[in-house]
Point group: C2
Chain length 423, copies 2
């Protein structure tokens, strides 16, 4: 039977989960997949962290060079997080001919091309299922099951923290700040939540998915990004009344040779399959030209779901005689490939003074910019009147100009929110 | 570049869809997957059926033996349907060392062991993504992405016809017979709908999924099966009022070394991810011990979705140097492996006479069989009173005995329906 040695870098929650699964399931993997996978080395400052998995201090290498020099190591699994030293360590591993398995989305989305270049020289493999969607095998699905399809559209809930916060806001009618505090107390959000709530984490993952979907690398910097911090309980309540839910979606669409790529909160029609993805669950919805709509749903984080994806990569890698190369890495999108003035429907919430003619003034601006309205509601029981519009599709620049002009109308107190709509 | 020749048996809707995708996408498959896939032969009585794909009569073989003798054919794709001659043709192909790709669930679920035996001798591969779930890559997911998991549970909507009928009954408040007629007119249901509405089709697919999930072949005959013909609009309306939807689920659960396997309509909690799978869409929900809940959703039928799955198999097969063997084929479940007396919650609908003591009589029977009630409702505005119970978990035999005894109570007019509940 083929023997494969694994080194784990970083023995924290995910590294530990991976070690636990590999050790508990060794025999089952041998029986079902015909490979003997063994943890032969670890790297962590704290050499006691492997004890609960039977990995005593003797398994712990002094540094990455010792692991690269170890002929028993075939696959290096990185569970350290952070861009450095993870990138340097994995570059060394690939240069030494070791295949790598990583769950590090920020590092991988930014350094994929450089890693691929080193790997191409030595023939080593890159495996990164756990970077995107935790336990969901979305990378396997895109690389092994979409051969007959051109991907037209990706819509994904790929950040558990923001999905948890938006779900709780909807379930409890609570405000963002309040729910964030609870989420932090429960460990669903970091003390510094910026990477999640401002959409950075989703944009790293969307970069990886889009590069695979469109066979051309989409650098993170080209993704339009907007977080959830401006979403209020009013918006969520209005959304519900109008037949929507609010979700942070990572969206990429291919149209007329250009790519629209953005991470932003949207009003999502409550009948869309993604609308029922709640709490910390993730889901990726794809449209392929032949397969049509398809969706994968699962746990986006956690030691064992992420460990499950990593172990799947390890076994998949162990059984390959030759590793996949990523041509898209040499074929990189620039701003010319991006459709920045994409069409979208919009939700717009204004506060206006209760005087005659204000609606007419707003409507005149919409008319000027050819924005047509599909739904409108106003609540005139108060002195300051909230008015809500949902528009038909309109290009982004025209919409932004209209909003800017509306915000300057004398009887408009303020444009309270502008959120894109997806159906 | 590796050249792979494909022969298509049966040039109907699915065979045609497959030819269309292979021909339109030839260049893209070469660029992205490094294999040159070409349709080199067809088999169909009507030799004009390839014309629209540029496959003139010269592509059409006289019989299967001509295809087996053709050295340019590497993969035989079967899109004929029916158990025979499909099985005989594929057996010949495998014996000639050709790998096979099939979408034929009935034939494959019944003949997998025999086909595997022939294939094992010649080293040919068996690919059957399109048998189960149409365009959804559920077979790829189970064979290439669940290496770290023991599958504890499968719950699946894998028949588009019945899901369409139940969805329409719910949306329109219509009766089964009425919706069936519409579905037949629209081509969603066959003139003879038995294979779909009685759950046979779902049981073939559940046999394939369970065999992979539990690494032991589950013959179709061991699956308990019940169709949707007894579901009424009353049941659907009561379900909705009580927070459920009615779905035909294919269910397999692993518990204490035994397997519970059944296809039946269920009251499904409206918060379950499968509850929102409507119309002709399919979905497979799995629980893995490490990955937790995971679900794949997509189009279960149609020329292009099914063609997409077939082409995915062709490309996957074309890139393998060695094909997977299925050890579970020699390891077959018998009735001893099956838990026939499994626990479940139940929905029970009775009609009773409006007389004192009838509820007490029914409750006494439930008490005798230790059936405990979680929800009950009655509507006493009529002379014949409908009463509905939802029970807590109870074993099947005890429940069936209780139902039988209740049906004989003097003031019970009839037990109108008994439907299992899933949450």
């Amino acid at each position: 039977m083929k023997k494969v040695g694994v080194a784990i870098l970083g023995m924290g929650v995910v590294g530990g989960g991976t070690a636990q699964i590999l050790i508990e399931r060794k025999k089952q993997i041998e029986e079902e997949y015909g490979v003997e996978v063994e943890v032969v080395a670890c790297l962590d400052k704290d050499t006691s962290k492997g004890a609960r998995y039977g990995l005593d201090a003797s398994y712990f290498a002094a540094d990455i060079d010792e692991i690269c020099a170890n002929n028993n190591v075939d696959i290096v699994v990185e569970c350290m997080g952070g861009t450095e030293p993870a990138k340097t360590f994995l570059t060394k591993a690939l240069a030494a001919g070791k295949s790598i398995v990583t769950s590090n989305k920020e590092m991988f989305s930014k350094s994929w091309p450089e890693l691929e270049k080193v790997a191409a020289k030595t023939g080593a493999g890159l495996y990164y299922e756990a970077t995107t969607g935790g336990g969901m095998p979305i990378i396997r699905m895109m690389t092994q099951a979409m051969q007959a399809n051109t991907i037209l559209e990706i819509k994904a809930i790929i950040n558990g923290t923001t999905n948890y916060i938006l779900s709780k806001m909807a379930q409890e009618g609570a405000d963002y700040a309040e729910v964030l505090k609870d989420a932090q107390a429960l460990g669903y959000a970091e003390a510094n939540p910026v990477a999640d709530v401002e959409g950075y984490d989703s944009s790293y993952k969307l970069s990886i998915l889009s590069s695979l979907a469109f066979n051309k690398r989409l650098p993170v910097e080209l993704i339009e990004r907007e977080g959830i911090t401006k979403i209020t309980k009013e918006d969520i309540s209005i959304a519900k009344d109008m037949g929507f839910v609010i979700k942070l979606l990572a969206i990429a669409k291919q149209r007329d040779g250009k790519i629209e790529a953005r991470v932003n909160p949207v009003f999502l029609s409550k009948d869309h399959p993604l609308a029922n993805v709640n709490d910390s669950f993730n889901a990726v919805f794809l449209v392929g030209d032949n397969v049509g709509d398809i969706m994968l749903y699962g746990r986006g984080a956690g030691a064992l779901p992420t460990g499950s994806a990593i172990v799947s990569d390890i076994v998949f890698c162990a059984r390959q005689d030759k590793h996949a190369r990523y041509g898209e890495m040499n074929n990189v999108m620039t701003s010319k490939d991006i459709d920045e003035d994409y069409p979208s429907e919009y939700y717009i919430r204004l506060d206006v003074h209760d005087v005659a003619g204000v609606i007419a003034d707003v409507a005149a601006v919409f008319k000027k910019y050819k924005v047509s309205i599909s739904q409108m509601r106003q609540d005139d029981r108060k002195e300051i009147i909230p008015i809500v519009f949902v528009t038909h599709e309109v290009k982004k620049k025209a919409m932004m100009q209209a909003i800017e002009e509306i915000s300057r109308l004398s009887n408009v107190i303020g444009v309270r929110n502008v959120i894109k709509v997806e159906r």
